[in-house]
């Protein structure tokens, strides 16, 4: 059919431009950066060019990959714990106004306290190993997941809950059949914010106490004034953020029913 062919072509063109958008923008920024650094009279000691950074990543790819895998693992582990406990906490907040009133200030306070300043305590109780990174990745990711899940749960209409209840559903079933699916879009919003904060948490943890991981590598490099390696680490940290975010988006596409956009 003519209409069908036209539609297929249109979809293809759209898919291509949309896929190309991010790389094109990234390349554009890199180009401006590459050209801008010498123009601004910046020493590569302050800000290396992307080309220098990429070369460094290529040269030290093994070193960087080793550290990156550590950070990635810490991020994912901390995030996973945050996702599970975050949704659990959100449920308790949702079901109990009293709990909400009591716990919210505590959560906010925990969220706001400068983590780096807690280094002595963290090191004392969690040591210099895996634990403090896991803890910080978890802690930073936790709060946005809780908030977004609560928002998502609150968005459900009472009528829907009455529907499953009328079928004899217990709260558990109502949760999985109705509450969770309808909270998913918001929940995933929280997870997306959460995962990028988990990366930051892991990196801060590595600042506080580590002998490996990208945060360690970056701090180590910058305390040696190896700006290029420091930036290389930062770029890889950012890339870790982008990749985990994208993976989450891919999961979201599969898990969440995509309603027609109301544009």
């Amino acid at each position: 059919m003519d209409v069908r062919q036209q539609r297929r072509k249109r979809n293809l063109v759209r898919a291509i431009t949309e896929t190309a958008a991010a790389p094109v923008l990234a390349l554009l920024i890199l180009a401006v950066w590459q050209v801008g650094v010498p123009l601004a009279g910046l020493s590569d000691f302050i800000l290396p060019t992307p080309w220098q950074i990429l070369r460094r990543i290529a040269v030290d790819h093994q070193l960087i990959a080793t550290h990156a895998s550590v950070t990635l693992f810490e991020t994912l582990a901390g995030f996973a714990i945050a996702a599970v406990t975050g949704v659990g906490t959100a449920l308790m907040i949702f079901y109990s106004r009293l709990f909400e009133r009591a716990i919210y200030p505590l959560l906010v306070a925990l969220q706001t306290i400068p983590k780096v300043a807690l280094a002595p305590l963290l090191v004392l109780y969690l040591g210099y190993g895996f634990a403090p990174k896991l803890f910080l990745a978890f802690l930073l990711a936790f709060f946005p997941i809780v908030i977004a899940t609560v928002v998502g749960l609150n968005g459900l209409d009472k009528a829907m809950v009455n529907l499953t209840r009328s079928m004899g559903a217990n709260e558990w079933q109502t949760f999985f059949k109705v509450r969770l699916p309808s909270a998913l879009p918001s929940l995933f919003g929280g997870l997306k914010v959460g995962i990028s904060l988990a990366v930051i948490g892991a990196v801060i943890g590595e600042y506080v106490a580590a002998e490996k991981g990208l945060g360690y590598l970056q701090l180590q490099a910058s305390s040696q004034f190896d700006t290029t390696l420091s930036f290389a680490s930062m770029i890889v940290i950012a890339a870790l953020g982008v990749v985990t975010f994208w993976s989450l988006e891919a999961m979201e596409k599969r898990a969440v029913f995509q309603r027609e956009a109301a544009r």
Partner: protein
């Protein structure tokens, strides 16, 4: 633990007793709204009771109380002699709005009560397919609610309630969004189902014709606050045929009910 007994074992109707029930809503502006005022009603097992009444008189409110979805303000409701505190497991409801889950296909929406009751899906698939065909939606099992028309959605909601063969079926204007002919067909099907299954049905409708055709008893409610103004037993032989609507007895019942309605003066008259 749920009873995994075969479907037939669940299929006798239950009794309903509504005793001196009042329902007061607290409004956002702080005022109270008396929706139901001392309603008394006893429904025998297997009876088909229709309720008509002006819009806003409290029909849906009454249904939600019987369904155990909202607490009564005073009085009590008993199903099979047991006070209703939460939804009774033998009850199935067709709500006034379709309440389809937008992320589930038509078939998965119909399977919702089956999943919740922990029954085996494959035991109920043939029945669901038969129901879908009966309501004229044979090809739509895999479609999503957003791809249906208003009337189609309502028909899916009806299938969802019927698939469980509930001992007490509560229906809130189930045929409101259907065209005349589809409606007639579905009314006939509902009568047939009720005759064969023998469950209790509480049926809210705006159509006096529908009420008289389907019910053993037609209740007429007064304008808000809802009370039961008339409780008329309909003595017409079963199965009733759609043609019988023009019979004298039928017309007489309808006129009586209309009369009660009109006497109460629902809207301002010119």
């Amino acid at each position: 633990m749920r009873d995994p007994a075969p479907a037939t074992a669940r299929l006798h109707g239950v009794s309903v007793a509504i005793e001196n029930v009042t329902k007061i809503y607290e409004l956002r502006d702080g005022s109270d709204l008396l929706a139901l005022d001392r309603v008394d009603l006893a429904i025998a097992p297997g009876a088909f009771v229709a309720i008509v009444g002006p819009s806003g008189c409290g029909k849906s409110t009454l249904l939600s109380l019987v369904a155990g979805l909202a607490p009564v303000s005073t009085g009590k409701i008993l199903i099979d002699g047991e006070e209703v505190k939460r939804p009774h497991e033998k009850v199935g409801v067709v709500f006034q709005t379709d309440l389809l889950l937008y992320w589930r296909t038509v078939m998965d929406n119909i399977m919702l009560p089956v999943e919740i009751k922990g029954w085996r899906r494959q035991d109920y698939l043939p029945k669901a397919e038969r129901l879908l065909e009966q309501v004229g939606l044979a090809g739509f099992a895999g479609k999503y609610p957003s791809e249906l028309s208003g009337g189609m959605r309502q028909r899916v909601a009806i299938c969802r309630a019927l698939v469980q063969e509930p001992g007490l079926l509560l229906m809130d204007e189930p045929f409101g969004a259907l065209d005349a002919l589809t409606r007639e067909q579905m009314i006939a099907d509902l009568q047939a189902m009720w005759l064969s299954v023998g469950n209790t049905v509480l049926f809210i409708t705006h159509s006096i014709e529908e009420a008289v055709f389907l019910a053993d008893r037609v209740l007429v409610m007064s304008p808000r606050p809802g009370r039961i103004d008339l409780d008329r037993t309909i003595d017409i032989e079963r199965p009733r045929s759609w043609r019988s609507r023009t019979d004298v007895t039928f017309i007489e019942y309808m006129s009586e009910i209309r009369g009660i309605f009109e006497a109460r003066g629902v809207l301002t008259k010119e």
